[in-house]
């Protein structure tokens, strides 16, 4: 059975899984931005916390994803079987690139620009929102891009703990040794990653002030 055949016969299910996959990625990346950007900004204000926080985010990144999903299952509140646990794990993975790039984007603003802003009487909040975040936006977006692309891939493994998504086909295909089935899950996931990469890449170049 070829791929197109499979898709036309199972179009409803395919769309459902694509939807689930997008949901996992969007929610987790969104949450990682909400947590990661303020955290990254905080690190520029409290440089002493930089090592421990980035170190911890690094540790999450190095845990194999399947193992992380497994570790989370027995935990109360955030654990269990299903999408919630998967989202928690995906957030932990997405955090590092977003926190690190936010820190670097904000800290990388030309010190002369920062000094001029402070010297002219901008408050720290004004400096952050009018100068540092806009100037660091391209770098922050690059972190979001990496996080999104990684999430699309990692989310396929979420199927292992019953969170759904395109990994369902991949795991099923591996179990029954069916290449078409594996491809049916892998191909849309790959396209999704490429699309996210392309779109966010365009946005990133649009905001790369420093390159000018």
């Amino acid at each position: 059975m070829n791929l197109w055949h499979f898709y036309s016969r199972n179009s409803q299910e395919v769309l459902g899984l694509v939807g689930q996959h997008l949901y996992l990625v969007a929610i987790s990346t969104g949450a990682a931005i909400v947590i990661g950007v303020p955290l990254g900004v905080l690190l520029t204000r409290r440089p002493a916390w930089r090592g421990p926080v980035l170190g911890m985010a690094n540790v999450f990144q190095t845990v194999p994803s399947l193992a992380l999903f497994g570790f989370l299952i027995p935990l109360p509140f955030i654990g269990g079987i299903g999408a919630r646990t998967a989202i928690v794990a995906l957030v932990l993975y997405a955090l590092l690139p977003i926190v690190r790039n936010t820190y670097e984007g904000v800290a990388g603003v030309d010190p002369a620009v920062r000094e001029a802003g402070r010297g002219m009487g901008m408050t720290d909040w004004q400096l952050l929102t009018q100068v540092e975040l806009p100037l660091g936006f391209g770098v922050i977006l690059a972190g979001v891009r990496v996080a999104t692309v990684v999430s699309v891939g990692t989310a396929t493994i979420a199927a292992a703990i019953g969170a759904g998504g395109l990994g369902v086909y991949i795991f099923r295909g591996v179990a029954v040794v069916d290449d078409t089935l594996i491809l049916a899950g892998a191909l849309p996931a790959a396209l999704m990653a490429l699309a996210a990469d392309g779109l966010l890449g365009v946005a990133e170049r649009r905001f790369a002030w420093r390159a000018r």
């Binding site: 030309d110 920062r114 000094e115 001029a116 010297g119 002219m120 009487g121 100037l135 420093r210």
Partner: protein
């Protein structure tokens, strides 16, 4: 009439890094006193590390003085909220520090916008200032900093510092990074501008010729202290060894 700037016994100690009693603080600025009247430019001259830039930053509290007092237009700087204080003091630095994502117009209008001036008044003020620093408003208002030459950027920097009409201007080697020809051009224009503006200015430089050209008085700094304070003529004639060292380099 209150003076734009009065500085009395200003000092700044860097806390030591050691532990316990062995911990020694290092003095970057010690017992510096001077006043600057309206229309007057005090040039702070000195070698690198003599404390002139530190003194400047103590005035607008980018560094907090550890001793002494600063009064800006009669008000104690330490008593004012730091952002209010700074909006009353124009600040120009060597690297200019224009916001690269703002047009020239928005850069110059920064402090008025922070002070919530009505937009029409900001626009008028910006055009007035660009003309004052020798930039045609129609040509330059809409440009971004990366579309300007070094000299043009520093002109914008000066216009930005003047925007909210502060009584006092602090300039930290504003022409130091320019090529020699542009530098001389800007120095001449600045000399002409000083009298017209009627502001108090503190101008930091290590270039003695620039200091003699632009200063109504010269303050010479050595190891954190003001070792000489007087008019350019007095400076030329002084037998203070540091003055002589600078004159020899001129």
């Amino acid at each position: 009439m209150t003076k734009p700037l009065e500085v009395e016994g200003l000092g700044y100690d860097l806390p030591g890094r050691g532990k316990g009693e062995r911990r020694k603080s290092r003095s970057l600025v010690r017992d510096v006193s001077f006043t600057v009247g309206a229309g007057e430019t005090l040039v702070l001259l000195g070698r690198s590390g003599s404390g002139k830039t530190t003194t400047l930053k103590l005035i607008n509290r980018l560094l907090e003085p550890t001793s002494g007092e600063v009064r800006v237009a009669g008000e104690r700087a330490a008593d004012l909220p730091v952002t209010r204080l700074r909006r009353r003091i124009g600040y120009v630095i060597q690297e200019v520090g224009l916001f690269p994502h703002f047009t020239v117009e928005r850069n110059v209008g920064l402090v008025p916008r922070l002070e919530a001036w009505p937009p029409a008044r900001i626009a008028t003020r910006v055009r007035e200032l660009l003309a004052l620093v020798g930039l045609d408003p129609d040509t330059f208002a809409g440009r971004y900093p990366h579309e300007l030459s070094g000299g043009q950027r520093q002109r914008v920097g000066v216009a930005r510092a003047l925007a909210a009409d502060p009584p006092l201007l602090l300039l930290d080697e504003p022409f130091g990074a320019l090529d020699p020809i542009t530098r001389v051009e800007l120095q001449r224009e600045f000399a002409a501008l000083e009298g017209r503006l009627g502001k108090g200015m503190v101008f930091v430089t290590h270039d003695v010729r620039e200091g003699l050209l632009l200063g109504s008085r010269i303050g010479l700094m050595l190891q954190g202290r003001l070792t000489f304070l007087g008019t350019p003529d007095e400076f030329r004639r002084s037998d203070n060894p540091e003055c002589r060292a600078f004159m020899a380099a001129a």
